[in-house]
């Protein structure tokens, strides 16, 4: 197989994968008797055509950045963390406990505390699978899947029994105090001039951008990041260099779980303002698609999260204004994961043929 130039590997492979996913989705839309062009129009208008649409798109983007970064950090240590969904839900539990513990006077105090709560709970949920992988060799993919289901059961148990305030019917925690409410884009000075209507996008967006930068610094500018990447590339080499596999698996998975958990400040604290069942709504799984699409680089993750934010908001609008079911989002998501993660060799082979022909032509 021809080795592709770096720019083709970084830019062309994900773009062609996306194109393939889009073409197949279009064929499916045609097959169920709908108009793909109109669907795209509705999606673009609904997600990007107004500040209102952007408010939702950026809200989804924020969540996906966190879960995408979570998958990225684990990936660089050679671990496939598929448990982002459970970690995000448990992170939500951390946020809820912090927000309900004190009558917070102002969000600037509540936000750092909630971030710590979210990250600690998310990390704790990743800690057991990480430990079992590092010490007992239990396959981390399987254990993290199991922990997603255990998390869901635990949250249901807590919301139905322990955390539900007396006299409330629906299984959820009490509302968070007003002081814990995060400012949305409408309430942020300056941004409020653009985002005039109420949208769920909130200050967490900036925390997410900071997290992207932080992950980049960590992975490419620190000794720890170097060890993580070295371990992920070659375990025997890392051991030879005195890097402890146990430490690397634990640290990368705790960071990964913490990042997944941090997602909860966006949806639980910033939007719902209480903890409900299935709070992550699949964002943990979208993190896989985002990380694969973003080639496991924070900048790529940011762009891919934006793309999936668009897909989610656009898909919701499409479900509202056309007769195409909203589940199209899942199909596109699955196809993107398939082409970028599992069939990427196929895409590379296709490109390889092209590049080989080109170099021959030049010579």
């Amino acid at each position: 197989m021809t080795k592709l130039p770096t720019w083709a590997d970084v830019v062309l492979v994900p773009l062609i994968s996306l194109l393939l996913a889009a073409v197949i989705s279009a064929i499916v839309i045609l097959a169920i008797g709908q108009d793909p062009v109109n669907a795209v129009k509705v999606m673009v208008t609904g997600a990007l055509g107004s500040p209102y649409g952007w408010g939702y798109t950026l809200y989804y983007t924020t969540s996906f950045i966190f879960t995408g970064l979570a998958v990225t950090v684990a990936y660089h240590a050679g671990q496939f963390n598929i448990g982002g969904e459970g970690q995000a839900q448990i992170g939500g539990l951390g946020v809820a406990l912090v927000c309900l513990a004190l009558p917070w006077p102002h969000w600037t105090l509540a936000l750092p505390a909630a971030m710590i709560g979210a990250a600690l709970f998310g990390a704790a949920w990743a800690a057991i699978p990480a430990y079992l992988q590092a010490k007992r060799g239990s396959h981390i993919v399987i254990t993290t899947i199991m922990f997603n289901y255990i998390a869901a059961a635990l949250i249901i148990y807590l919301l139905v029994g322990v955390l539900k305030p007396a006299g409330q019917m629906d299984p959820a925690t009490a509302r968070f105090p007003a002081g814990a409410a995060l400012p949305t884009f409408k309430e942020i000075p300056g941004l409020g001039l653009i985002f005039r209507s109420n949208t769920p996008a909130n200050v967490t967006f900036f925390v997410a951008i900071a997290a992207c930068w932080g992950v980049w610094i960590l992975l490419w500018r620190t000794r720890l990041g170097y060890s993580i990447r070295a371990f992920g590339k070659s375990e025997p080499a890392a051991i030879y260099a005195g890097i402890s596999p146990f430490k690397m698996i634990m640290i990368s998975m705790l960071l990964s779980g913490g990042l997944s958990g941090m997602m909860a400040i966006n949806n639980v604290m910033g939007e719902a303002e209480r903890l409900v069942q299935n709070s992550a709504e699949g964002a943990g799984f979208i993190g896989i698609a985002v990380a694969l699409m973003g080639r496991n680089h924070p900048l790529g993750v940011f762009l891919a999260a934006l793309l999936f934010g668009f897909l989610y908001q656009g898909g919701a609008e499409m479900g509202l204004w056309t007769t195409i079911p909203i589940e199209l989002r899942l199909l596109v998501q699955g196809l993107v994961i398939l082409f970028t993660g599992a069939l990427d060799t196929m895409v590379r082979m296709m490109l390889g043929v092209f590049f080989r022909a080109r170099t021959k032509g030049a010579a």
Partner: protein, 322 residues
Amino acid sequence: MDYATLLQILDTTVRFATPLLLACLAGLYSERSGVFDIGLEGKMLMAGMSAGAVAALTGSVWLGLLAAIAGSVLFSIVHGLASITFRGNQLISGVALNFVASGATVLVAQSLFGQGGRTPPLSGAARFNPITLPFAESARAIPGIGPFYAEVVSGHSILVYAALAAVPLTWWALYRTRFGLRLRAVGENPESVDTAGVSVIRLRYTAVMITGVLCGMAGAYMATGLQAGFGKEMTAGRGYIALAALIFAKWRPWYALGATMLFGFFQALALRPDVIKRTIGIDIPVPALDALPYILTVVVLAGFVGRAIGPRAGGIPYVKER
């Protein structure tokens, strides 16, 4: 708990365990050949929708079953292409296909029937109906074993008996045939199989196709046996429970029967919290019962109770020459 209640719960156990058993055996073939498959869930879902839709349109449950197998095998082919031919990441391929199935099933069911992603309720010949085994009614009079035969053993649909028959069949195929020997070898050490002049690619594709057929039966049973029609996300994590059962059973057919029966029993108990309370005096929360299969699997994976070690070449694509 009196005997009648126990029989009732055991009857439900058998019905709940059947899709788990079929999916578990499905996963067994694939994983024994060295191809991880976490896409059992998606295949079952696709099969359930195909069975529900075709049975509703044609009125024949057998055509529904064929459609279910076709739908499931289609996913197997994609999984095979990704993980065998293009040597992609098998885990990611499985995850991806689960999402594709979640989306595609609703899209197709909605465009065909317009009932919010469901297929119309099935009845009569469009469903797999219970079969009363010979002498079930006359045997009821025999104390102890009689009611057990009539209630638990008899009165299931043909797919339940097919699933039970698949267990010894799988055992025989795996341990008493040439195919089985090669299948086990290709999951442990594909080089040796290749050196012996047997095609690794073909063996793995065969295994993945068998997985597709069995998942198709599991999905068909969900939509036309256990329930009367397909509903959105109707498999509700059963593919993952089957995967858990496969690990719990350490990739062996008879143990798979035991594991799926146990997990089916938990599901049956979760429906009757009143019985648990009366029997052991403690109120076990339903979510705890739901989580039990997953917790048990983690414990087994951790190796605290009998270590679970999968096929050695599992998850690694085979490269013939370097």
